[in-house]
């Protein structure tokens, strides 16, 4: 994968302005015994939108705080635009952060909050220049004319945009966002995601976003870093991560998957034949060149629910199907655009299938108790190492 080989490149970051804007070199952070970051290496290109995604406590915020300068790594180096910044305090780093709680100054009005960073510059820009830039950035976040408002007079979504404006007005090299949308309701969060993404494309500043919402990470980012217990387990584009998860952990974290346990019968670099616990043999695709497989190895096969095809007649299934088996419909869950079915078969055990709404319109929905044929193509079945 080109993304991960870039991330692990051993050379020192270049300083010619075309190198990575941000780099971690084997960065670790321990709080006593707790490893919040363990040997993280990472490079971020200028203008990239990168997300850290992972469950609570996996070290996302810690990674962000090491970039901002609020935490010092216990090992390794952090580079900003080619310069090692380990010993540079937060107030001299050319990055800005949007805090999860927004951290707006309650004793200052909106305009003074936004102007705060500019007022710390020396030489201090002129009054006129500050007013101009504050006005421009407030327009950018669609808060023109709100400058005189007090912070507590603003709604949650407006406060979030003030926090964004307060960071953006400084034109940082990297903008850090720590779950900036977590406090918003679902609808507003969707709108803000689109807005943030458009904004980032327009101004071209590097964004680093921390989130535990996979949908948010996948929909907004150029690349996503999946984290687990202080480590990066996989880094890649959203489609990469979804289509080619490197491990069961990633497959389970990014989207939903059915996991089937089995052992390798034969393995070639592109595909493998796997014998499932039920004795059924299936053909499966395999990814991850690093994963060496030999006959007899225990593996997990992941199949996305939307890749599972359900048919009333067996011969309606496409000819190139890897496996097709009689299954009982146990449950039908209506999700709006999709319908999720929970099924059980002798070959696959209990598994889930996701049917789009259209196919339901054409055909009558399957009912619990019905027996259907379920199948999936070989390239939909991914062989994963069992972590």
């Amino acid at each position: 994968m080109p993304a991960s080989s870039l991330a692990n490149g051993p050379s020192a970051p270049a300083r010619d302005g075309r190198g990575p804007i941000l780099a971690f070199r084997r960065v670790s952070k321990f709080f006593g015994e707790i490893g919040a970051a363990r040997d993280i290496s990472l490079e971020v290109r200028p203008g990239e939108f990168l997300s850290f995604l992972g469950p609570s406590g996996c070290g996302k915020t810690t990674a962000l705080r090491m970039i901002a300068g609020f935490e010092q790594p216990t090992g390794g180096d952090v580079f900003l635009d080619g310069e090692r910044v380990n010993d540079i305090p937060a107030h001299r780093r050319p990055v800005n952060m949007v805090f999860q709680s927004y951290a707006l100054f309650p004793h200052l009005n909106v305009a003074r909050n936004v102007a705060y960073g500019l007022l710390q510059r020396s030489p201090r820009p002129s009054r006129v220049e500050i007013d101009r830039r504050v006005g421009a950035v407030l327009d950018l976040v669609r808060l023109g004319g709100f400058g005189h408002r007090r912070i507590w007079e603003m709604s949650g979504g407006q406060q979030q945009r003030v926090a964004l404006a307060r960071a953006l007005v400084n034109e940082p090299k990297v903008l850090l966002l720590d779950e900036p949308l977590a406090a918003l309701d679902r609808k507003l969060r969707r709108d803000m995601q689109v807005e943030l993404q458009n904004l980032q494309r327009r101004i071209g500043i590097t964004f680093i976003l921390v989130t535990h919402d996979q949908e948010e990470a996948l929909s907004m980012s150029d690349r996503v870093c999946i984290m687990r217990e202080g480590r990066i387990v996989q880094i890649g584009s959203p489609t990469d991560l979804y289509d080619r998860p490197a491990s069961r952990y990633v497959a389970g974290f990014v989207g939903k998957s059915n996991f089937l346990e089995g052992t390798i019968v034969t393995a070639s670099p592109e595909c493998a034949e796997v014998k499932l616990a039920s004795g059924v043999r299936i053909a499966a695709a395999r990814f991850g060149e690093a994963m060496r497989l030999a006959p007899g190895d225990r593996v997990t096969v992941a199949v996305r629910p939307e890749q599972v095809l359900l048919m009333r007649q067996r011969d309606a299934l496409p000819a190139d199907i890897a496996v097709g088996c009689e299954s009982h419909v146990l449950n039908r869950i209506f999700l709006g655009e999709h319908t999720e079915y929970v099924l059980r078969s002798d070959a696959l055990g209990e598994f889930a299938a996701l049917a789009p709404r259209q196919s339901e319109r054409a055909e009558k929905p399957f009912q619990p108790g019905e027996i259907v044929t379920a199948g999936f193509r070989a390239e939909a079945a991914l062989v994963l190492g069992s972590d």
Binding site: A90, R92, S101
Partner: protein, 276 residues
Amino acid sequence: MRWYVVAIYVFLYLPIALIVVFSFNAGRYAMDWQGFSTEWYFKAFANPFAMKALRTSLVVALWTAVLATMLGTLAALGLERMQGWPRRAFDALIYVAIMVPGVVIGIATLIAFVTVFDAVNPFLAGLFGDAAPQLAMGLPTIIGAHVLFNLAVVILIVRARFAGLDRSLIEASEDLYATPFGTFRQVVLPMIFPAILASFLLSFTFSFEDFIIAFFVSGPDSTLPIYIFSSIRRGITPEVNAIGTVVLAASLSLLVIAQFLLRDRNARRPAPDKAA
């Protein structure tokens, strides 16, 4: 309310109410109502001894408030950064300073001052001969003793406010390029200012109305409470009641203002509408 609760409140506040009522007595004797009059207020404000005591009290209270607030604020900010046993030791000492009875502080500071003066005065005499300054009890010793116990009050109030300060505001300020001093001046100070002002008013009040400690270390200068104490030995007059009422009104107003400043400020604001 139960009758005994009423009884307790009557027992506590009736004497105070009587003082206020009888300060408006037209008669000569404190408890012999002759009709309404404000003449004792004019008498009191025309009394040179009372006015001198009032001036002394105001000077003492002002200096005490200024010094205790300044030192206490700095101490509070410093203590908030301390960790481990030194911090626990200081915490304990602060509470001790508040719980020790005034009499003990009075006696202890008196002994301390006398001991120091006895040691220093001969030394000064040897240095400067007959023109040597003599250290003695007076305004500075009252102020010193008052600062001592008010310091603890200021530290507790300011530190509570500082501890309640959202850390991310400080980080946000640093993130926006403010130097540590810039952050202190532009974020920490404005945020804890109500607590600083409140502790200034409280230490002013506590110093102004203190009798016990001042009684021990005042020397020849008498503060207003000491003046009241010495004048009631000649009988309780409506004039004393008038002075007491003025002191009461002033103290209460300052306490109310301080309480207002220490209120949870967010309670005054409508909660931000998160869902919006």
